[in-house]
């Protein structure tokens, strides 16, 4: 349960940062927090307290004590995606700073209406 609460707290914090902060880097950090929160959520779905890795190496370990492998696979993918997005975002931020000379999103408002 604590994992769920924690993951949602992370997501909400991240969303708050994305919505309220002015600095582009901070916003991207917020997005990363959201990602982390979601990943934590996914992991905690498959988590079993005291479970082992889902590898049939030892026949003595019953299937029930293994954690669910699917969320882990999902999370791996999600992390990769998150990494790609963050990397792209940061490189875009560099460009934005190059063009606008600021990271304040309240000032990067040439496209509107």
């Amino acid at each position: 349960m604590i994992f769920y609460i924690g993951s949602f707290a992370l997501v909400l914090t991240g969303l708050y940062i994305a919505a309220a902060k002015k600095n582009l880097i901070k916003i991207i950090m917020g997005l990363s927090l959201v990602d982390t929160g979601v990943n934590l959520f996914l992991i905690s779905i498959g988590y079993i307290k005291g479970g082992t890795a889902p590898i049939f190496s030892n026949a003595a370990i019953p299937g029930k004590t293994m954690v669910d492998p699917v969320p882990q696979a999902m999370v791996l993918t999600a992390i990769v995606i998150g990494l790609a997005v963050t990397a792209l975002a940061l490189s875009l931020v560099i460009k934005a700073y190059y063009h606008y000379g600021t990271l304040n999103v309240r000032k990067i408002k040439e496209l509107k209406w």
């Binding site: 969303l15 994305a18 919505a19 309220a20 902060k21 002015k22 916003i27 999103v105 309240r106 408002k109 040439e110 496209l111 509107k112 209406w113």
Partner: protein, 618 residues
């Protein structure tokens, strides 16, 4: 199959004309004239035929159908005739302008679309042709650039409003009756509830009201008529606007059915009386506004609105006489107004595009044919005896009197007074009075302009003296609506309450005319005087700078002007400004700040959450 081939020729001809223009402009012109004349001949050959259901196409599994009957023949003949005449008129008028390939293609396309409208026997093809007509008209109105552009936008926006109403109505009918064929709908609609019928009629009423410029919905018309190329103004006023009348006839009498149409109670008054009153208002106000205009085409344009009122009045009354009057007036008015636009066009062509009534005058000697056309045209508009409109107006007045509606009859009469005043101004300021010096060297109008003018002038006299020719066709139309047949002969209409016989009138006028002529012969000869002799109290007037046609009717203006505001136009203008302001406001949603955008997402999710949980989240 003939109808299909006819329409294919019409549409194909339009496109071929465009491509021929790339080869040679002469070839293109001849071909355009050839196509339009062919269409006229082909339509004329269909006379008297009445056939339903030439299915020609499948669209989403619905068979699209064409048909010809007396109603569609009547309109098709007029469409193709006016189309051919205005293409001929264009030959010289448009010479030297740019984009002529496009112009001729669009002229033929509008023509083809109108033919499609009148031959369509199912609602989808009706709508398709209607829309093709709308957008090609839009392109032609905008053709001249500059001031024409707002006029075009005004037209297409109103037209789109109308077509959306119709679109909705058509599909509603389709969904309810599972058919698109007009004759089947007419059978099916009998069983519909009257509320539904009123709903449908209002939807279609808006559409056709906009097209035929019934009073509060007329605002597109003056600008559009004024700004389009004159030959197209002629088509626009002559036939395109009258497609609205065709629509009224089709939907009120064929689809909804006459018996139903007169029985609907719209709360305060009967439905058709509301239309009658709208027609009456449309007669009175625009004809007087027309008087105020100084642009020759604008003056005619306001007449276009005003005369449309007579048609609506006649049609909405729905007696055999009234209906015959309304339909006949459609034709007669079209002949007159096309003729008038062509005379204006001839003057405009020779005077270098000037249409300002304050600066023209005295062209009678220079352009006799145009003058004759204008004279007959205005006589027709007023409805002088022996011109065609006399008959149709007589029928309409008679209907009003027989049905004892003194106010409506009075409105119609006032409309005629306004017409007389304003068209006289038109004739006088163009052709009579003193010729401004700069127009001393003006030549006659070219042959390609004279031909249509002469043809239409003779048509006015012909239909004025022998009204039986069109009335015979109209008689079959009204009998097909289920009305009593009129007793039509070549000279007029014989009825129990007074016979119209143009031969008697003709003889009477002939006698009176010769008496007057003899009196003039006996009396003293008139002689021309120079302006300096009797004008300006002997003071010197610089002849070049002064033109006495300026400010015609000035004292009358002062009296009537405050009452003649175009309220509808003002209202729509206001509406546009409000909408523009509103959209300026709505745009601000996209504020450019990404923080807001993220908030939008969160709010949306929250709202969705709230709705989905059935509001039970808290």
């Amino acid at each position: 199959m003939t109808l299909k081939i006819l329409l294919l020729t019409a549409f194909g001809g339009a496109f071929v004309t465009y491509f021929l223009g790339k080869v040679s402009s002469k070839l293109r012109n001849y071909f355009a004239v050839f196509v339009s004349l062919t269409l006229f001949v082909a339509v004329a050959c269909l006379y008297g035929k009445s056939a339903e259901n030439f299915s020609y196409f499948k669209f989403f599994g619905n068979t699209l159908v064409l048909r010809v009957n007396s109603l569609s023949w009547f309109f098709a003949a007029a469409v193709s005739a006016f189309g051919a005449l205005s293409v001929i008129f264009s030959l010289d008028y448009m010479k030297g302008k740019e984009n002529l390939d496009f112009y001729y293609m669009m002229m033929l396309l509008v023509n083809a679309a109108m033919l499609g409208i009148v031959f369509a026997a199912d609602l989808v093809s009706f709508f398709v042709f209607w829309e093709i007509m709308s957008w090609s008209t839009f392109l032609l109105i905008s053709y001249s650039g500059k001031n024409a552009l707002p006029a075009g936008i005004k037209y297409i926006v109103m037209s789109l409003i109308g077509s959306m109403a119709m679109f909705f109505g058509i599909l509603s009918i389709y969904v309810n009756f599972h058919t698109l064929i007009i004759s089947e709908i007419a059978r099916g609609i009998v069983s519909a509830s009257s509320g539904y019928k009123i709903f449908i009629l209002v939807l279609f009423g808006v559409t056709f009201g906009i097209k035929s410029a019934v009073m509060p919905l007329h605002t597109w018309l003056p600008d559009a008529y004024t700004e389009s190329p004159t030959p197209f103004s002629a088509v626009l006023s002559g036939m395109l606007t009258r497609m609205g009348v065709y629509g009224f006839l089709l939907f009120f009498y064929v689809v909804a059915g006459a018996s139903f149409f007169f029985d609907i109670d719209a709360g305060i008054s009967k439905f058709n009386y509301i239309l009658c009153w709208l027609g009456a208002i449309t007669i009175v106000i625009p004809t007087f506004i027309a008087m105020l205009q100084n642009d020759a085409k604008k003056l005619l344009a306001w007449h276009g609105i005003g005369q449309g009122g007579y048609m609506i009045l006649g049609i909405a009354f729905g007696t055999s006489l009234g209906l015959a009057g309304g339909i006949l007036h459609t034709l007669n008015y079209s002949i007159c107004i096309v003729l008038l636009f062509m005379s204006v066009g001839a003057v405009e062509y020779r005077c270098g595009g000037v249409r300002d009534l304050n600066s023209l005058g005295g062209l009678i000697k220079k352009m006799p044919v145009a003058f004759a056309g204008a004279l007959l045209g205005i006589s027709g508009l007023i409805g002088l005896p022996l011109t065609n409109s006399f008959v149709s107006k007589w029928l309409i007045y008679k209907t009003l009197i027989l049905k004892s509606h003194p106010f409506l009859a009075f409105a119609a009469l006032i409309g005629t007074w306004g017409t007389i005043l304003s068209v006289y101004k038109f004739l006088h300021n163009n052709f009579l009075g003193e010729l401004p010096e700069k127009y001393e060297n003006i030549r006659k109008s070219p042959v390609s302009m004279q031909i249509p003018i002469i043809i239409l002038s003779s048509a006015i006299l012909l239909f004025g003296i022998l009204p039986g020719i069109p009335l015979k066709v109209i008689n079959t139309i009204i009998t097909s609506f289920g009305f009593n047949s009129l007793n039509v002969n070549l000279w007029g209409i014989a009825s129990e309450t007074g016979t119209l016989n143009t031969i008697n009138i003709f003889t009477a006028i002939l006698i009176a005319g010769s008496v007057i002529w003899m009196l003039f012969r006996v009396g003293k000869k008139s002689f021309p005087v120079t302006q300096d002799d009797n004008y300006a109290a002997g003071a010197y007037v610089p002849a070049g700078k002064y033109n006495y046609t300026a400010d015609f009717y000035a004292p009358l203006f002062k009296i009537v002007k405050p009452y003649l505001m175009d309220f509808a136009d003002k209202f729509f203008g206001w509406l546009c400004r409000v909408f523009t302001g509103f959209s300026e406001g709505v745009r601000k949603i996209y504020a450019g700040d990404v923080g807001y955008y993220v908030l939008y997402i969160l709010f949306f999710a929250a709202l969705l959450f709230f709705v989905q949980s059935g509001g039970k989240s808290w």
